[in-house]
C-alpha cells in the first residue's frame, strides 16, 4: 500500500466516485482540484470530468451559491460535493439547515439528499487572527437535524470517510482540518474503500484513562501520549471520526473500564462537541470522572504567544492526565 499525500488521497476518493456516478458534481471556489503523487501521477478533476461537472477554474466567491447549487443538484438526483473555504462556514448553514437537512423529512421521505459539504477547517495557527482561526464548527452542524458530521484525522480516514459520505443518501458535513495533513500518515490503498459512518476507532488501548479527541486536537493528543505513558498512566485513546451519529457504544465500553474520561478539542468551550461526548458517556456510565480541555471562549488572537497559551496542547494534556489520576 503506497504512501500518499493527504490531498491526493482525498481527490482519489472524489475521482473514483465521479467515475462511478456519471451525473455526480464537485463544486468549489478556488481550491482547484489537482493533486500529484511523488511518482508523478496526477489527478486533475477538471481535465477528466470537464467544467460542467466541476467548477472549472473555480466559481464565484459566493458560498451560498456553491452549497445551494450542489444541494439543488442533489435534490434532483446528482451526487454532489460542495467544497467551501475555511473562513466562511456559516454562509452555507441556512441552506444546509433548512434544505439539505430537512427535505427528506418534510416530504415524508420522498426526497434523497446525496450531498456532501466539504468544509475546509481553519486551525489555531499564529498570525491568522480571529476570522481565519475558528475551529469547532462541527458542533454547529451536529445540532442540525438530518445532518451527519465527520472529521477525519489522517489520510486513510480522509479518503474512506469521504467515500462513505459521498455514497450516503443523507447530507454529510465533512470537516477538513489542515492540522492533520502533515506528519506521518498511514498507508492509503489505491482502490476505493469506506470508513463506515458512525464507527469510532480505538487508536491506543489502555486501562486507566479514556482520552477522546478528533481532527486538530488529535495532533496534540498524539504528541502527549508517549510522555503520559512514561508517567505510568495507561491511556485508551479514541478518535470518534464520525461525530454524528456518534459511536457512543465504543466510548461507553471504554469508560466503563477506565472510569475516567478526558475530552480534548480545539473548538470553543461552551457547547463545543466535547460537551456532548461527556453528556452521552455520563448518562450511560455511573461514577465517571470527566473533564474537558478546549480552546477558551475567545476569538483567536493573531499573536503567537497568546495563541500558544490558549491552545490545549500536549503539555496541558499531560498535566490533565496526571491530575485525572490523582483527583
Amino acid at each position: 500500500m503506497p504512501k500518499k499525500p493527504y490531498g491526493y488521497a482525498q481527490l482519489e476518493a472524489v475521482r473514483d466516485e465521479m467515475r462511478q456516478n456519471p451525473d455526480m458534481v464537485y463544486f468549489y471556489q478556488n481550491q482547484i482540484p489537482t493533486a500529484t503523487l511523488p511518482t508523478g501521477e496526477v489527478i486533475d478533476l477538471v481535465k477528466e470530468f470537464g467544467p460542467v461537472r466541476t467548477s472549472g477554474r473555480g466559481w464565484a466567491i459566493d458560498e451560498t451559491w456553491i452549497a445551494g447549487a450542489a444541494i439543488g443538484a442533489a435534490t434532483a438526483g446528482s451526487k454532489a460535493v460542495a467544497r467551501l473555504p475555511m473562513m466562511t462556514p456559516i454562509y452555507a448553514i441556512e441552506y444546509v439547515q433548512n434544505q439539505a437537512g430537512k427535505i427528506r423529512s418534510m416530504t415524508g421521505g420522498q426526497a434523497s439528499m446525496p450531498f456532501v459539504l466539504w468544509q475546509d477547517g481553519a486551525s489555531r495557527s499564529r498570525g491568522s487572527a480571529a476570522q481565519h482561526t475558528d475551529v469547532g464548527m462541527e458542533s454547529i452542524y451536529a445540532q442540525l437535524p438530518g445532518i451527519k458530521v465527520v472529521a477525519p484525522s489522517n489520510a486513510y480516514d480522509a479518503k474512506g470517510l469521504l467515500i462513505a459520505a459521498i455514497r450516503d443518501p443523507d447530507p454529510v458535513v465533512y470537516l477538513d482540518y489542515g492540522d492533520v495533513k502533515s506528519g506521518e500518515q498511514p498507508d492509503v490503498p489505491d482502490e476505493a474503500y469506506e470508513v463506515p459512518l458512525g464507527k469510532a476507532e480505538v487508536r491506543q488501548k489502555g486501562t486507566d484513562l479514556t482520552i477522546v479527541a478528533w481532527a486538530p486536537a488529535s495532533v496534540d493528543v498524539k504528541r502527549a501520549l508517549p510522555d503520559i505513558a512514561k508517567k505510568g498512566i495507561s491511556v485508551e485513546y479514541i478518535d470518534p471520526r464520525t461525530l454524528k451519529p456518534l459511536d457512543v457504544d465504543t466510548l461507553v465500553a471504554s469508560v466503563k473500564k477506565t472510569k475516567r474520561l478526558l475530552v480534548v478539542e480545539h473548538g470553543h468551550y461552551t457547547c463545543g462537541f466535547g460537551s456532548h461526548v461527556i453528556a452521552e458517556v455520563v448518562q450511560a456510565v455511573p461514577n465517571v470522572r470527566a473533564r474537558k480541555l478546549s480552546f477558551p471562549d475567545v476569538p483567536g488572537p493573531a499573536s503567537g504567544v497568546m495563541m500558544a497559551w490558549l491552545r490545549p496542547d500536549a503539555p496541558k494534556i499531560i498535566d490533565a492526565a496526571i491530575q485525572m489520576m490523582h483527583g
Binding site: A60, T64, W65, G68, A69, S78, I103, T107, Q110, D168
Partner: protein, 442 residues
C-alpha cells in the same frame, strides 16, 4: 399625481394590439428577438408607465402607495388577437381544456379549503398560503414546459403542484395531516410536493427556490439533457440574497433556468410601495443582459407565450430569463383573516385597499380565460361547464378521502430524518438506544 396617470383608457389600449410596452425587453443581450419579445405586445395589454424610478429618500419608491397595484390592473378581457392569442389559440383543444381544468382545480380546491378553515368543523390547523387569483402564472408557465422539466415551488405552492399534475386526494389528506397525504403528515400545506413529477419541493423559506431550480438545471446539463428548471418566487423573495446570487451565476454559467416572479404587490403584510425602489421588481436584474418579460400575470395566454419563449431561449443554451407576472393574491399572506365563507377575497386588511381587491377579483384570470376561449370559438359553453362540475366533484371527493384517512402513527415522528431509519426517542427516560445515537434500521 400618479393616480391620475393610472386612469388610463384600457378600452383604447385594447385596440392597440401589438403595441410595444416600454419595459418588457430582452435588454442588452445583443440577440435579436424580432422585437416581439415584449410580453405586453404578446398579450396586447399595456401597463401604466408613469411610475418613475426611485429618486431618493427612505421607504422605497416615493411614488408608490398602497393600492398602486391598480396601476397594473389588466383589461377586462384577454385580447383575442396578437402573438400570445395566436400561439395559445393554435394549441390542441385538449391542451386548452386541460389548462382550464387545472385553473379550476386550483381555485376550487383552495376555495373549499378556505371555507373549511373558516367553517372550522374539521379542526384544520397550520399554515395555508392561498394562491387564489394567481393561478394563471402556474398554469401558463407549466403548460409551456415538457413533462420532465423541473419546477421549484414556494410556500404558496398548491397551484404549482396542481398544474404539474398533483393528486387532489393526496393534497387534501396532507392538509389534514394524514398518513395518506403526499408528505404523510410531515409537511402540510407549505411543503406539499410530488417529487416524482419533477417538483423540487414547495418551500417555507422565502427565496429558497432559486438554487433548487439552478441545481435541477445542472442535473440536466451533466446528463446532457435540455431540461429546464423553473424557480417560482414572489416579489418578497426578490429581496433575498439568493436571488441575486442565483441570477448572477445562472447567467454566468448559462444555466437553463426560468425565474418566474409572481408579483402580487404584497410582501407578507407590507405593501410593495414600501419595499421596492424601482418601478418593476425585475428591473433589479436587467443589468445581467438576460431577457426580461414583464407581463399581465392574470392572462394565461401571456404567461404561456412568455414562458414558451424563455424555455426555448434556455434550451438553446442561452441561459436564464426573468418573467415578471403582475398578479394579485386575493387572501391574506397566510390563513384567511378578512375572508368569509362563500365570499371571494379577504377584505379589511391593513396593507391593501378593498377597492384594490375587488378590482383585481373582477379581473379573475379564470373568468378571463373562459371568456377568451368562448370568444375565440375554441370551446363550447357546455364543455366548460362540464369541466367545472367535474373539477368541483373531484375536489369534494378529495375532502371526503382526507376525512376518512387515518392519522399517522405518532412514533413515525422519529423517522425520515435519515434514510437509514429512526433516531433514538430521547424524550423518554427509558428510551430505546440510550447508549447509542446511531440510527437503527428496523
Amino acid at each position: 399625481m400618479s393616480i391620475e396617470h393610472a386612469r388610463i383608457d384600457r378600452r383604447g389600449l385594447l385596440k392597440m394590439l401589438g403595441a410595444l410596452g416600454a419595459t418588457a425587453t430582452a435588454a442588452g443581450c445583443n440577440v435579436s428577438l424580432g422585437g416581439d419579445v415584449s410580453a405586453q405586445s404578446l398579450s396586447g395589454s399595456k401597463f401604466d408607465k408613469t411610475v418613475a424610478l426611485a429618486s431618493e429618500g427612505p421607504g422605497g419608491n416615493p411614488q408608490w402607495k398602497a393600492g398602486d397595484s391598480l396601476k397594473f390592473l389588466p383589461p377586462q378581457e384577454i385580447p383575442t388577437r396578437g402573438k400570445a392569442a395566436d400561439l395559445v389559440g393554435a394549441l390542441p383543444k385538449e391542451k386548452l381544456l386541460g389548462m382550464y381544468e387545472k385553473l379550476n382545480a386550483s381555485r376550487r380546491w383552495e376555495t373549499v379549503m378556505k371555507d373549511l378553515f373558516l367553517g372550522g368543523k374539521d379542526g384544520l390547523y397550520g399554515y395555508f398560503h392561498s394562491y387564489c387569483g394567481e393561478e394563471a402564472v402556474a398554469v401558463g408557465t407549466i403548460a409551456a414546459l415538457a413533462e420532465d422539466d423541473y419546477i421549484a415551488s414556494t410556500h404558496r405552492g398548491h397551484g404549482h403542484l396542481i398544474a404539474k399534475g398533483g393528486d387532489l386526494n393526496k393534497m387534501s389528506a396532507e392538509i389534514f395531516f394524514r398518513q395518506a397525504g403526499y408528505n404523510q403528515g410531515y409537511g402540510g400545506s407549505m411543503h406539499i410536493v410530488d417529487m416524482a413529477k419533477g417538483i423540487m419541493g414547495s418551500n417555507g423559506i422565502v427565496g429558497a427556490s432559486f438554487y433548487m431550480a439552478a441545481g435541477a438545471a445542472i442535473h440536466g446539463k451533466v446528463r446532457g439533457t435540455k431540461q429546464v428548471g423553473v424557480a417560482f418566487f414572489g416579489d418578497g423573495a426578490s429581496a433575498s440574497p439568493y436571488y441575486f446570487s442565483a441570477a448572477r451565476s445562472c447567467t454566468n454559467y448559462k444555466l437553463p433556468v426560468l425565474f418566474v416572479l409572481e408579483n402580487n404587490f404584497q410582501w407578507t403584510g407590507v405593501p410593495m410601495a414600501l419595499t421596492v425602489p424601482t418601478k418593476y421588481v425585475s428591473d433589479y436584474t436587467k443589468g445581467l443582459g438576460i431577457p426580461h418579460h414583464t407581463i399581465d400575470g392574470n392572462d394565461v395566454t401571456a404567461v404561456y407565450a412568455a414562458a414558451k419563449e424563455a424555455v426555448e431561449w434556455a434550451r438553446a443554451g442561452n441561459g436564464p430569463s426573468v418573467i415578471e407576472a403582475m398578479t394579485f393574491r386575493w387572501y391574506d399572506h397566510s390563513g384567511f383573516s378578512g375572508g368569509k365563507v362563500s365570499q371571494d377575497g379577504a377584505m379589511g386588511l391593513p396593507y391593501r385597499t378593498d377597492d384594490e381587491v375587488k378590482q383585481w377579483i373582477s379581473r379573475d384570470p379564470i373568468g378571463r380565460f373562459r371568456g377568451w376561449l368562448l370568444a375565440k370559438g375554441l370551446a363550447q359553453e357546455a364543455e366548460l361547464v362540464k369541466i367545472e362540475k367535474d373539477t368541483q366533484a373531484a375536489v369534494d371527493a378529495s375532502i371526503e378521502f382526507a376525512r376518512n384517512s387515518p392519522e399517522p402513527d405518532p412514533e413515525r415522528g422519529v423517522w425520515n430524518a435519515h434514510a437509514s431509519g429512526p433516531v433514538p426517542a430521547t424524550q423518554f427516560f427509558n428510551r430505546k438506544g440510550l447508549a447509542t445515537s446511531t440510527p437503527k434500521t428496523t
